[in-house]
């Protein structure tokens, strides 16, 4: 994901979301999903590697706490479907794990940390087509930083973060990076 640099907080970084902001944003997204879907039945959350995976699990936990029943959650790797695969050195692929019920006739919610060019989501839609036929696909992201290069939009956004192309938006999550924070620099 080009938008998420794995750099730590440096001087000049501005924190736009702290741990509590992130938690609140995910809580709101969870409620939006439930409201839109009229409950958690037939809902499948698929996190995109790397940081979409823990985000999807967190949203699933929040939904389960509200609904009192577990929500299907999985992870999706789109490396093989990227349009820049052959213009870069070989990227390591990650695991794709679907929940036991699969995705056929389910409402699949793709979860990612940052929505930027939209190319990752394009790749994810292609990957989904090879895995099954969901009844609908929605997109939930923690941060939408703009600069779309494809006709793709998110259904649920944690925070809209207008940014300049030269700026870096970094999402740090406790599961991957040790702490929760979104910074821009």
């Amino acid at each position: 994901m080009p938008a998420t640099e794995q750099t730590g907080p440096e001087r000049g970084d501005r924190t736009v979301l702290d741990a509590r902001d992130i938690s609140r944003a995910l809580t709101r997204i969870s409620h939006e999903l439930l409201e839109r879907n009229k409950g958690a039945t037939d809902l499948v959350l698929l996190g995109l590697h790397t940081r979409g995976v823990p985000l999807a699990k967190r949203i699933a936990d929040k939904i389960a706490a509200v609904e009192g029943a577990p929500v299907a959650v999985g992870e999706l790797d789109v490396t093989m479907y990227r349009d820049d695969l052959r213009s870069q050195p070989t990227r390591r692929a990650h695991k794709t794990a679907l929940p036991p019920g699969g995705i056929d006739r389910k409402v699949v919610v793709l979860v990612d940390d940052v929505l930027f060019s939209g190319r990752t989501i394009r790749a994810a839609l292609d990957a989904l087509a090879d895995l099954g036929r969901p009844s609908a696909v929605r997109l939930a992201v923690l941060v939408d930083r703009g600069h779309r290069e494809l006709p793709i939009r998110a259904d649920h956004v944690g925070k809209n973060l207008p940014s300049a192309l030269a700026e870096r938006v970094s999402v740090r999550l406790a599961e991957v990076d040790g702490s929760d924070e979104v910074t821009i620099s």
Binding site: D77, T79, M80, Y81, L85, R86, S87, Q88, P89, T90, R91, R92, A93, H94, K95, T96, A97, D126, D130, L131, G132
Partner: protein, 318 residues
């Protein structure tokens, strides 16, 4: 990583990286749409100058599941049978715009030689009695799935060591991953000069299969058993008096099977000579992983082709 010619070319991290990719590829086999777009537009040629069923079809399916275009060229029915040299055959095929060349050849070192002639990425699918790296990778990957880590585990490799490229690649791969290896063969099928080699590479040799399987003497219990095929096509002399005598001394018979714990995986690279190096009881035992090796082989070959061919071909592996 530009070519895969020898296990020796791979760093330990690269081996483990291939295993991780293979684990992802393994999942594809159970999908309804067995297709990944990673090698779309790439062309892979399988050049087999020796007979092969599993390796060639495995590379073919691996390439196809990754969306590459795969072409098979075999020595029979190719210009080689009209007297064309290996170099001319290879250069002719590569002039058609080939990205990956999977080659099996009866001459040791053929893959290395070919890699110096062509721009394409070359995968050694077996060169004479030298190496068969993807077989070693799939064997180690299969064992790792059964044993967890190979570090400190004891693997016995039994059979026709002299003519076995599988053994040569496997010893390197297994010892690199931290396994303790004991190789067992009759004296006539023990490669000459194995003494200094085993001392340098850190593996043990034995002539007594029962002792090794029993964990007696200086040997401790084996965690995995790897049987090798008796390669009659490479044998020009008499290496053992009769097939029966080989079986009695070095075959995995029903009696020897009973010496093994029921969770010790039994590998065989195939094709099996049932009744010669492996009894049907062992080949079909619950602990036999022979068919699993085939599906692992597919996953490993997908991983190898992916690592060699998916990225920027000028840039190499990150």
């Amino acid at each position: 990583m530009k070519h895969l010619l020898s296990v020796d070319d791979l760093a330990t991290e690269e081996i483990l990286g291939l295993f991780e990719t293979a684990a992802d590829m393994h999942d594809v086999q159970s999908r309804e749409v067995k297709k990944l777009p990673a090698l779309r537009g790439r062309t892979v040629v399988n050049m087999f100058f020796e007979d092969s069923t599993r390796t060639r079809s495995s590379f073919e399916i691996a390439g196809k599941w990754l969306s590459a275009d795969v072409i098979n060229v075999s020595a029979k029915g190719s210009s080689t049978s009209k007297g064309e040299s290996l170099r001319d055959t290879v250069l002719t095929v590569c002039a058609m715009g080939v990205d990956g060349l999977v080659i099996r050849h009866p001459a040791s070192g053929a893959a290395l030689q070919v890699s110096q002639w062509v721009d394409a990425s070359v995968v050694n699918a077996g060169d004479g009695m030298h190496e068969h790296p993807t077989q070693a990778l799939l064997d180690a990957y299969t064992l790792q799935r059964h044993l967890g880590s190979l570090d400190g585990r004891h693997v016995a490799i039994i059979g026709d060591l002299t003519h076995s490229r599988v053994f040569r690649s496997n010893v390197q791969c297994l010892t690199r991953l931290g396994a303790r290896v004991t190789v067992v063969a009759p004296p006539t099928l023990m490669p000459s000069g194995i003494g200094p080699w085993s001392a340098a590479a850190g593996f043990e040799t034995s002539y007594d299969l029962d002792e090794v399987l029993r964990g007696a003497g200086t040997h401790d219990d084996v965690d995995a058993v790897m049987m090798l095929r008796v390669q009659r096509e490479r044998m020009s002399g008499a290496f053992f008096p009769s097939p029966r005598e080989y079986t009695v001394g070095y075959g995995l018979t029903r009696d020897r099977l009973s010496l093994l714990a029921p969770d010790v995986p039994i590998c065989h690279p195939g094709p099996m000579n049932r009744g010669l190096e492996i009894a049907a009881d062992a080949a079909d035992a619950a602990q036999s992983v022979v068919l699993e090796q085939v599906s692992s082989g597919l996953a490993i070959r997908m991983a190898v082709l992916y690592h060699l061919l998916a990225g920027d071909l000028q840039g190499g592996t990150a």
